[in-house]
């Protein structure tokens, strides 16, 4: 496993995950394209059994690339 992949595996927060994604995309000069077709997600309000859920419905495309650090 590469060093970059190790870093992504070790992420514990969303910002760290974003940094890992940035490094991976920058290293490869790549972009990520997500295409959603009528995708439904139940977003829980917490981790307990009695957590309420917000219902998200996604349809469309999103493309992520990197910018240079200023």
């Amino acid at each position: 496993m590469s060093e970059t992949e190790d870093k992504i595996d070790e992420t514990t927060t969303w910002p760290e995950l974003a940094i890992g994604l940035y490094e991976r995309l920058t290293d490869r000069g790549a972009e990520i394209i997500y295409e959603f077709e009528e995708m439904e997600v139940q977003v829980p309000s917490g981790t307990g059994e009695d957590a309420e859920h917000a219902e998200w419905h996604l349809d469309g495309k999103i493309t992520i690339t990197t910018r240079e650090r200023e």
Binding site: I19, G46, G60, T63, I64, T66, E70
Partner: protein, 137 residues
């Protein structure tokens, strides 16, 4: 300063705001949150979430877990991205890198989200104007 329930726990008051992972996003997406529909478009560094009405905006925002809002804000700051929430073509709130939450945000407990009072008033006025026109027009 009073601690905001929406402030990311991993973002301290004195944190370095330099974006560590600036991303660019192109989006053409329709999102429906608990029945409230919004279109998501992007200009690269700025994501525009356009709701059809003020009640739709409130329904979508209020249904989000606070942990999700906190995590999203931290990610937006790290990636130098800004989300503009619009209702009736007016900016009612801003989150992320270019958000400048002020007294209003702190007073209503949505810091670090910036509330745009002028946009909110404009959107509500447009909503009421259309409602009156619907009744008497």
């Amino acid at each position: 300063m009073e601690k905001s329930p929406l402030r990311p726990e991993n973002v301290s008051e004195s944190r370095d705001n330099t974006p560590r992972a600036p991303l660019s996003v192109e989006a053409d997406l329709v999102i429906r949150i608990n029945g409230a529909t919004a279109e998501l478009e992007s200009t690269g560094e700025r994501l525009l979430v356009q709701f059809e009405s003020v009640p739709d905006t409130l329904r979508a925002v209020q249904s989000q877990p606070r942990e999700l809002v906190s995590s999203l804000t931290a990610v937006l700051q790290t990636t130098d991205l800004t989300v503009e929430i619009r209702a009736r073509n007016r900016i009612v709130a801003v989150a992320g890198a270019n958000a400048r939450p002020g007294l209003v945000s702190r007073f209503i407990g949505v810091d670090p989200i910036e509330v745009r009072l002028s946009g909110t008033v404009g959107a509500v006025s447009a909503e009421m104007r259309d409602a009156v026109a619907g009744i008497f027009g």
